[in-house]
């Protein structure tokens, strides 16, 4: 199996040698279809976690016949263990704005929004100040496009794209049925390209350095690099931009404390990789995908407590709209508590796994569907810790 050592990359945070507005200015001299082809060619996939090819998303939105279209930057970063988008917005906001502007030009939108989670309101004064200047700059280069910021109010589910639209429309953040997909009917029912903060910055940088440069990094299925948020039992907690394609083993050798027994890849909604699978698990779309959250646990940690934390999180953050998720989250939580207290036989965990699998099929949105990821991986690999 081919793997790479974690290689540090500097694309997202680099600022020297260019003015984001100038990059937009030269981008809008190109044909939108050429920009789309370059994005598709680069292999860039959404960096929020779902990994949909960015070029295709832009293409679908461009192909829709509508006078009003929108581009939205999803900055509702709520996944436990993720903090990269805050760092990106804090350090290189103009690159995010520029990514929005290029996307707006490409798909034919005149309005762009940044949906910023309420927990990051302290970023607003600085962001607003820079945004006013940037919007003026867009006018000067003759692009009919304007960006505004909208705030969230402490609901994890609003990171789900259709729930985010509902929230922006002044409603409860309850996910919609799909299809129709956002590229057809998103914000206010209009075609909408919604991208993660990091994705927009990569799109911007591809526009600047070209798809070829980007493609040199990563693997066939996971092109480029990715910003990782690293926390837990590690001496090196923080933000790192790394080339995609490394194994969990490579990652742990670099970032572990020498006693790592498990890595939770992709936050609470991701999967838990135990030590015995470190070597064979690739961090990327061909292995275990991640929005960037990497939480390390050493042998002193109780995986029961970890799972309990995650389930409490989902129980509280479930929007309550569909039964599999609303009731399922509660029952999984109650279930492991009952097994721990000895009120239920250990074999009850198998029933709970079935429930988690049912949620994966039957829940309406990604939240309910993904609870099975941590649940099944932790219960399967750390069964003794859940029972005793």
């Amino acid at each position: 199996m081919e793997t790479n050592k974690p290689k540090r990359v500097d694309i997202i945070f680099v600022t020297e040698g260019f003015d984001p507005l100038k990059v937009v200015e030269s981008a809008i001299k190109k044909d939108p279809d050429a920009i789309i082809l370059e994005m598709i060619d680069s292999g860039l996939k959404g960096r929020g976690g779902a990994g949909f090819p960015t070029g295709l998303k832009w293409k679908f939105t461009r192909n829709e016949d509508s006078y009003d279209k929108y581009v939205i930057c999803n900055a509702d970063e709520g996944e436990p263990g993720t903090f990269k988008d805050r760092e990106i917005l804090d350090r290189v906001p103009e690159k995010v704005f520029a990514g929005l502007a290029i996307c707006g030009y490409t798909i034919g939108a005149r309005e762009g929004f940044i949906y910023l989670r309420g927990e990051y309101n302290f970023l607003l004064p600085k962001l607003n100040e820079k945004l006013v200047k940037f919007n003026e700059g867009l006018k000067k280069i003759g692009l009919d496009f304007r960006i505004e910021i909208r705030s969230g109010s402490g609901a994890y589910i609003c990171g789900e794209e259709s729930a985010l639209f509902e929230s922006m429309e002044g409603k409860r953040g309850e996910p919609r049925n799909k299809p129709p997909y956002p590229t057809v009917a998103g914000y206010l029912g209009k075609p909408t390209a919604i991208n993660n903060v990091e994705t927009l910055v990569y799109a911007f940088m591809i526009s600047r350095i070209g798809a070829e440069k980007f493609k040199e990094l990563g693997t066939k299925d996971s092109r480029g690099s990715k910003v990782f948020s690293i926390s837990g039992d590690t001496p090196k907690a923080g933000i790192y931009e790394l080339e995609l394609g490394m194994s969990v083993q490579n990652f742990v050798e670099e970032f572990g404390d020498g006693d790592t027994k498990a890595v939770q890849v992709g936050g609470a909604s991701g999967g838990c990789v135990p030590r015995k699978l470190f070597k064979d698990t690739i961090i990327g779309y061909e292995g275990i995908p991640t929005g960037g959250s990497m939480m390390l646990f050493n042998s002193q940690r109780s995986m029961y407590n970890v799972l309990h934390d995650y389930l409490e999180f989902f129980t509280e953050e479930s929007c309550g709209q569909c039964t599999p998720c609303r009731v399922g989250c509660q029952q999984l939580l109650k279930g492991i508590e009952a097994v721990k207290r000895g009120e239920r036989a250990p074999s009850y965990l198998e029933d709970l796994k079935k429930l988690a699998k049912t949620m994966k099929i039957a829940a309406k949105c990604g939240l309910g569907q993904s609870v099975a990821n941590p649940f099944i991986s932790i219960v399967t690999n750390f069964k003794e810790e859940i029972i005793y």
């Binding site: 436990p80 993720t82 903090f83 909208r150 109010s153 402490g154 609901a155 002044g170 959250s293």
Partner: protein
């Protein structure tokens, strides 16, 4: 106390009177008085030509849009896994001791409300708390107490 009607009027000037203006208006009122009472929601409903139930439905969905009275300073201690591992329990305990309230309660002088929050996005610098919109990472029980004492002195 701030004039809520004035806040609503100002916000509709910026965001308009369509339903999509609802979140910014609710947020503007909460920013000023930290919660929404029934009369606030009725006034907002009138301004946007919505039913009060629709406004309550939206407001009550969001953790940060409180519909019960809160203190002048709302303390939210992150309780999610990384902060849990970094010692959020000790932080909460020290704040409870200092303010003589439990999670979910408000001090008698209506200055502080203590709440927990799900992941605040500072997992590499936990434990962490928000006081209104201000963030305080890398807490120790001692630091948390000092920060709150400073707010108290204001």
């Amino acid at each position: 106390m701030a004039d809520v009607q004035q806040i609503i009027n100002d916000a509709t000037q910026v965001y308009g009177k369509e339903r999509k203006a609802l979140m910014p208006i609710l947020q503007a009122v909460v920013k000023e008085k930290n919660y929404l009472d029934d009369q606030d929601m009725i006034s907002i409903a009138k301004a946007l030509d919505l039913s009060a139930a629709e406004v309550f439905g939206t407001a009550s969905f969001y953790t940060f849009l409180d519909t019960v009275p809160r203190g002048k300073y709302v303390i939210r201690v992150c309780k999610t896994i990384s902060c849990h591992m970094a010692g959020k329990d000790e932080i909460i305990h020290s704040i409870e001791e200092l303010l003589k309230i439990k999670i979910g309660e408000t001090t008698v002088d209506k200055q502080f409300t203590l709440l927990t929050a799900n992941c605040l996005g500072w997992c590499h610098k936990g434990p962490v708390m928000l006081i209104n919109d201000e963030i305080f990472p890398e807490l120790t029980p001692q630091k948390a107490v000092e920060i709150i004492a400073k707010y108290r002195a204001e």
